[in-house]
Assembly symmetry: C2
């Protein structure tokens, strides 16, 4: 899938694996961005001010790109995918805003999120606004099928976020519980975003299901890589923070592996730092050393590569096309961030 | 409208003006309650645990009662109103959960909300879950008109909540700004709840609009009474808290009246306590004295009575019926809480 030359961005040295994907749906994506800006407006000016902070900043727009490419793959020639891709991004942004809500304990740790600037309340309410706007856009589209898919995805995301809260600081969390969390909190929206492409194109159920599966596995790969990178020292070189999950006591796959296979000293370490949240200066380094001892980062990335392969396989029923190539590039993008 | 004997509940000594309303739609309301309990379930047990705290506790269920009575008034004989009334209550509960999110400053004031028990994050995420469930229920109902009305109401509520944040601690807030806030944050859902009754019954636009207007004016009356009661010493006798809005620096109608008509000393007092949030022991008593000097509570309640009258007037096009009587009782209920 690398017939095109590798493009590396100046800033990060990362190859932009999504360049080909973006080029293909460039005009559609511009339409999505216009609609996002237009529909996040309000007479209550704090709303666009705060939303702009997150949403207009750009970002990768991975989820809307997925909707646009899936519609293209299915040979859809209308323009409904544009509003629906904007919906997907609004739902994602609302989730981000709500995910950043902090408790007193977090404030003490001196975080710097949207909340540090506006307090807790404004981001929650602006998230609600964007979420409602997403539903308004869907209603205007008029498809009950799409509404069903996205309202269900939203409920599943919220369930996943709550499940994540419950598993945090609990070292008895196992791989199954972890996968349930990421399948809900992350993969459900990828799944819905991809599936919608088949729905607008009116494709048969089997194709819809194949695209849903593609989105789901891509989302799982994406989250596994994120969770691995959170402990990867290399991230620090790229100017990204390391150890957020450790500080929060989020029990992710690398930690589950290291805890399961660790000796008594290691298990006591994880219980102290993750469960009791008693952490001091050298603990993150120590955590990284324990993870390295069990190759926990590599094994998490192996799992991401496998999920990526399942995503690729699910596209095998579709004939070769530029849209299909671009979707396969998205899998590369999700995984290559790690290397 | 008081042909039936006044019923006074043991606990509070308040007449239960809504008794007749509830009796009329008793079976429907039981259906709503069953559906609420059923649809707030999740394998993630923290969700029903937390939701139960607010939603299953009961409460007045004013908004769903409004939907049920409006459907009855319109002669509707199906059962769609039951699921839609549950939607309305879910949206309301999600709003309550999000409204309780606290900032660091609030925590310092030692509040005791759902958040004191579960932190900030869980109530936000459970609110999102209930909100998503509301949309799932609406989608299952299958009416794009209803979806349009409720998704729009949700966006307006969020806008109103943000507008309320912006006007808090700002003594330049005038009556217009205040009414915009309460029309959005409170009356929009009352309006939608009532309107839906006409929609499910397939009534003509004029009746739909009359019911929308009834809900809106009832919501305004309701909020005005709430804002008056927040300063009413009598509330303390009933075991309710007094002065929450004062502590939060919410600029409500009583304060707007007293500030507008106050002398320099009074205006300095309001600026210090509301804008600078510098409050000490005797300030609430002083605030109540200034409000009394300008009859600000009575004048706020006068405004509520006027809104209630507009609500009554909007039902004049409907022939006399037990449903109509019950809806007029709801206006009594909203206002009589104050006396």
């Amino acid at each position: 899938m690398s017939a095109v030359p590798l493009e590396r961005t100046q800033a990060t040295g990362e190859r932009d694996a999504m360049a080909r994907a973006r080029a293909l749906i460039d005009a559609d994506l511009a339409g999505v961005n216009r609609l996002i800006i237009e529909r996040m407006q309000s007479e209550v000016t704090l709303i666009p001010e705060l939303a702009r902070h997150l949403i207009a900043a750009g970002g990768k727009r991975i989820r809307p790109v997925l909707t646009l490419l899936a519609a293209r793959l299915c040979g859809y020639e209308g323009d409904r995918q544009i509003a629906l891709a904007a919906c997907v991004e609004f739902i994602h942004t609302a989730t981000l805003l709500h995910d950043d809500v902090v408790d007193e304990s977090d404030l003490r740790r001196g975080r710097d999120t949207a909340n540090a600037l506006w307090g807790n309340k404004a981001p929650v309410l602006v998230g609600d606004f964007l979420f409602s706007r997403a539903f308004e856009l869907m209603v205007a589209d008029g498809s009950l099928r799409v509404l069903e898919i996205l309202s269900n995805a939203s409920a599943v995301i919220a369930e996943g976020e709550v499940a994540q809260l419950v598993t945090a600081n609990d070292m008895s969390t196992d791989e199954d519980a972890y996968y349930n969390v990421i399948r809900s909190k992350t993969a459900a929206l990828f799944r819905a975003a991809s599936r919608i492409g088949a729905v607008v194109a009116g494709r048969p159920a089997a194709e819809e299901e194949a695209l849903a599966m593609f989105g789901e596995e891509l989302g799982i790969a994406f989250q596994l890589v994120d969770d691995a990178l959170d402990y990867a020292a290399r991230q620090a070189l790229l100017g990204k923070t390391v150890g957020d999950d450790f500080v929060d006591g989020k029990v992710t796959l690398p930690v589950i592996i290291a805890y399961r296979e660790g000796d008594e000293e290691e298990r006591a370490f994880w219980r102290r730092t993750m469960e009791e949240q008693k952490q001091s200066g050298g603990d993150l380094k120590q955590a990284q050393a324990f993870l390295a001892r069990h190759r926990a980062i590599e094994r998490t990335l192996d799992a991401a590569v496998e999920a990526g392969q399942r995503a690729r396989d699910s596209l095998s029923r579709f004939p070769d096309s530029t849209a299909r190539d671009a979707m396969l590039d998205m899998v590369d993008f999700a995984i290559e961030r790690a290397f």
